[in-house]
Symmetry: C2
């Protein structure tokens, strides 16, 4: 068992958080992570409330441990937030936008607020919002994010918001990454891509298999898939996905893509038939470290054991006085 | 004292390597790092042999400890390598290109070969060259480099080349970063930007002060400064520098810049008068962690002590069985 200020804050057995990946982190995966001792987060995505209500019911009925819901800050309004809070999550996780307008409503429900940020300025906003913990997300992570890399970002955020617990996200898929995060001053790690490749994750087996087979060099940050889907992300955010032919075709021509009904219909059709030469598979650079689809419990156990072993023997590097 | 396979291989007291920054890592800085217990490397840059001979004489006369020379692989030929080897360095460090054509000449001199790589494919080339150690350099580092981030790159390279010692580069400027690198499976860390901000580093005080004042969000990877200087770097490499007005002006117009005698003359003039709104200051994202210009000995001592303290107490995170 690894104890940090994060595990104490939330009552976890391991300092591991599930990245609330839209359409991947449903109630089953969130409950599996929570039942394994981490913090499961349902991916609220762009706020399709029927889907979300179903998944929130599922996680509530599947775990007695703390769990939460992740929302895309710029895409929510008061109604969506209230609907999420009505399911009594232990944690609301806000990413991609200013959390301050929503903080009071969340904290009034005795719900913990975790904010994910991509730079030091964002961390200071999260601190001002009264965040109970701050996830600092590096650019090597899968899906949407910013430009800063995890290794130098974590200590910079820790220095800026101490003593608020900081969690490292981006590039972590094994016990080595978790142990490294703790050395940087983080109190835990958030993992997305690694939990994508579990049996409990929603999402197609073909996509999971593409991640298992990919190398870290095969991912790119892009706006192409947002343009294809008609999502208007604010400046500064791109999404990291496995490189594919559709990305090559449209990179640098996102406005043409957004304006092309034909191209967008073709994209939707490819998503429907799970053609990943066109459809996106969000994934981070840590794909080098993912070799198979496993149960969530197996993933959490192995990462925790590996990190524990590394931390236990860390002092053997040091000799003399 | 921190002992790893790297310190044992090279006879170091701390697993720290100086990044061989062109025009910054001269003989004085290299000797200072070696005398402090790390490995000092003179930055051979683009192979101006008169400058290099002077700096190599300086490092040879200034330390009894192991030291080396760093070369840009694609810019050297046999004559330049032989001239470097004639100064009897303990280490030759090759980065940015295929090291295999040069490996035999280096190893015939009983000189250790360290190769710096930016991805797993490069690490496999370095292994094929017979590298004694491999530096895996993340995109968050200052100066020239590739696209992969340090945190997920290190364990991927370790897995690919084990048991060759791997060294982490990019984003490391304090003891937290060094300790994290060791947790990832690295045997040490290479630091550039942190050693730029020392009293022994060549380079202008104004540039050092810009780094001290900068935040990590203020750096960008670019080809603009290579175009301005007429250097033809191979595809895949860009340089990370502090963001400035010249970068804004020419980003996306590098070919026009390379073709403009007027613009390039103006750039040279700005370099001569140390106008950093135009001239480049290479720097990595770790600038958040650099708060003053200090002596090299003070930097090495603080990083080592901090890493030692973190490693000694790492096991306190783990409880139970």
């Amino acid at each position: 068992m690894i104890t940090t200020r994060l595990t104490e804050l939330l009552g976890l057995e391991q300092p591991l958080i599930l990245g609330p990946m839209a359409a991947v982190a449903g109630g089953r995966l969130a409950a599996a992570v929570s039942n394994a001792g981490g913090l499961g987060l349902v991916g609220g995505g762009y706020g399709r409330m029927d889907w979300l209500q179903r998944e929130l019911s599922l996680v509530r009925s599947s775990t007695q441990r703390p769990w939460g819901i992740g929302l895309i800050t710029w895409s929510i309004d008061r109604d969506k937030l209230d609907a999420a809070l009505a399911s009594n999550p232990d944690v609301v996780f806000l990413s991609f936008g200013d959390p301050r307008p929503h903080a009071a409503r969340i904290k009034a429900k005795s719900c913990k607020l975790i904010c994910q940020v991509q730079d030091v300025a964002g961390a200071l906003l999260a601190k001002a919002a009264g965040a109970d913990a701050i996830v600092a997300q590096g650019t090597e992570g899968g899906g949407h994010g910013g430009q800063r890399a995890t290794l130098p970002l974590i200590p910079a955020v820790v220095d800026a918001v101490d003593p608020i617990p900081v969690v490292a996200a981006g590039g972590i898929a094994d016990g080595r990454g978790l142990a490294a995060a703790l050395m940087l001053g983080a109190q835990g790690a958030l993992l997305g891509t690694r939990f994508y490749c579990t049996t409990e994750a929603l999402g197609d087996e073909g996509a999971k298999q593409r991640i298992v087979e990919a190398r870290g060099d095969h991912t790119r940050r892009t706006r192409v898939f947002d343009a294809a889907r008609g999502y208007h992300w604010p400046d500064g955010y791109t999404g990291r996905a496995l490189h594919n032919a559709f990305m090559d075709r449209w990179e640098g021509h996102e406005q043409d893509l957004a304006a092309s009904t034909v191209a967008r219909d073709a994209f939707r059709a490819a998503v429907a038939v799970r053609d990943y030469d066109t459809a996106m598979v969000w994934a981070g650079e840590c794909v080098d470290l993912i070799h198979s689809v496993e149960t969530t419990a197996a993933v959490v156990t192995r990462i925790s054991r590996e990190a524990e072993a590394i931390l236990r023997t860390a002092s053997t590097h040091v000799s003399g006085t």
